[in-house]
Subunit: 249 residues, 2 copies
DNA sequence: AGGATAAAACTTGTATGATAGGTTGAATCA
DNA sequence: TGATTCAACCTATCATACAAGTTTTATCCT
């Protein structure tokens, strides 16, 4: 077993670090920056030091810091804009929505599974909304239902009103996490909804959809959590059935 | 109103585009790349063209493509590693967890609100788990409870077992979205848990925590959804009470 | 002094060119 | 056939430069 060239020691049993994808300088920078934000107790809209400053502190090129910033910007931990220093970003569901959309597109989760997660979350939002909603919110929900009824032949508008309706319910819970989750889960399905809707040709079928929403709104307006849950279940059963009809396995 | 130097037309009423932060070339690249992935119907682990190729196609520098790649990599839509071409990324909850952690750290949502979202999701996971769990999963859950009991004086281990327990329940639902959501919501609270745990000094208080988990596991093992939900509610009530004791508003 | 305004200083966005080091597959050798 | 080597390719990082957007400072006019 004579080696001519021993440039590489006999493949020294793959180091444990070789399994995890080696830490890059950008990764370190990302951590350093998040640590900075956390360490300094920065809050939304507070501004960060410039890229150049971080580069100097960490002893890396601005390229590295830029890519780290871009990473953080992608998950909305910071906000970047030309000329201005980066600021700490606000929490919105867009990242979650992107992640879920990607999971759907690449068939890592099915529309049914997404719907089921929505059901889990919304079972709670309707119940909470029924007990916490203000009168204005109740009125708003009923108004949104009317808008859905008017828009039932315009898929785009219908979809927007639908999302607005479910998010409005989530808003009434007074827990900002719920609207974010509902919006994310809902908007991730913007691409599968059209296929389902296409199978509801006749007006009656579309009015059925409007009606289940109306029932939910009424139950919330009446302050009846149980009725709201029941109505929500009807909503989701209808959706599940429609998915099957549309041919989703 | 005479202008000496008219280098700028009278501030022509802020264009609508001026409100939204100007689109950058990186943004365009991000869209182009996601469109490419979607358009080509790429699935997890499929590999993308090189940065240089995209740069050529889009007529921009490699810098721009790199930052676009890094953005997509941050939300796990693609995976990058030195030497290898980028691949389409798998769906895991890390992005959601990061987003939620940031929201908590910057006090955009409170621990209570996070717990309430968990309750919403887990109400469903325990019910589904109770009706769908395999015998192996039931045994695993009970084993995890024992590990929690053993580890009740080691916060770090306790936390990991706790997360593993709730994720294991979510896994038994056969819906991959649930473990992701539960893991995200749970791990986002790694930082607030210690403060709560510190207020459970005596062994009895800690055993109470173990016991509520045991009740959940038993109900799931018994295939009783209602009992599982009831046990879960006890779990969350205990947590809510502990949060108050620990001084969270 | 006060307030509008222009200039300077700073910051991010993008481009170019280089190099080091990781990955892959084809050619090669035992 | 199977292990090895090597060349081609690709990403990670750096240094430098410049355009364009923002903020701060200095300036000027009233």
């Amino acid at each position: 077993m004579s080696k001519r060239h021993p440039p590489v020691p006999p493949a020294a049993a793959p180091s444990p670090a070789a399994i995890a994808p080696a830490e890059t300088r950008v990764d370190n920078a990302v951590r350093a920056i998040t640590d900075y934000i956390h360490g300094q107790g920065l809050k939304v809209d507070d501004s960060l030091p410039s890229e150049a400053r971080f580069a100097e502190w960490l002893g890396v090129s601005r390229t590295v810091i830029r890519e780290a910033f871009k990473s953080l910007s992608a998950i909305r931990i910071i906000e970047m804009r030309a000329g201005r220093r980066a600021r700490v970003g606000g929490f919105d569901g867009s990242v979650i929505a992107l992640s879920l959309t990607h999971a759907l597109r690449t068939e890592q989760i099915s529309p049914q599974q997404m719907w089921d997660a929505r059901r889990a979350v919304e079972r709670r939002t309707v119940a909470l909304a029924a007990s916490r909603r203000s009168d204005a919110e109740a009125a708003h929900l009923l108004a949104l239902v009317e808008q859905m009824r008017d828009a039932r032949h315009d898929l785009a508008r219908m979809t927007e009103h639908d999302i607005a309706f479910h998010v409005a319910i989530a808003n009434a819970t007074r827990n900002p996490l719920f609207p974010v989750l509902v919006a994310s889960l809902t908007s991730a399905m913007r691409e599968t909804n059209p296929m389902v809707w296409r199978h509801r040709r006749d007006d009656e079928a579309r009015l059925d959809v409007v009606r289940v929403h109306e029932d939910i709104a009424r139950a919330i307006a009446a302050g009846d959590p149980d009725a709201a849950c029941a109505a929500l279940d009807k909503h989701f059963d209808l959706a599940a059935q429609a998915l099957l009809t549309a041919g989703f396995s």
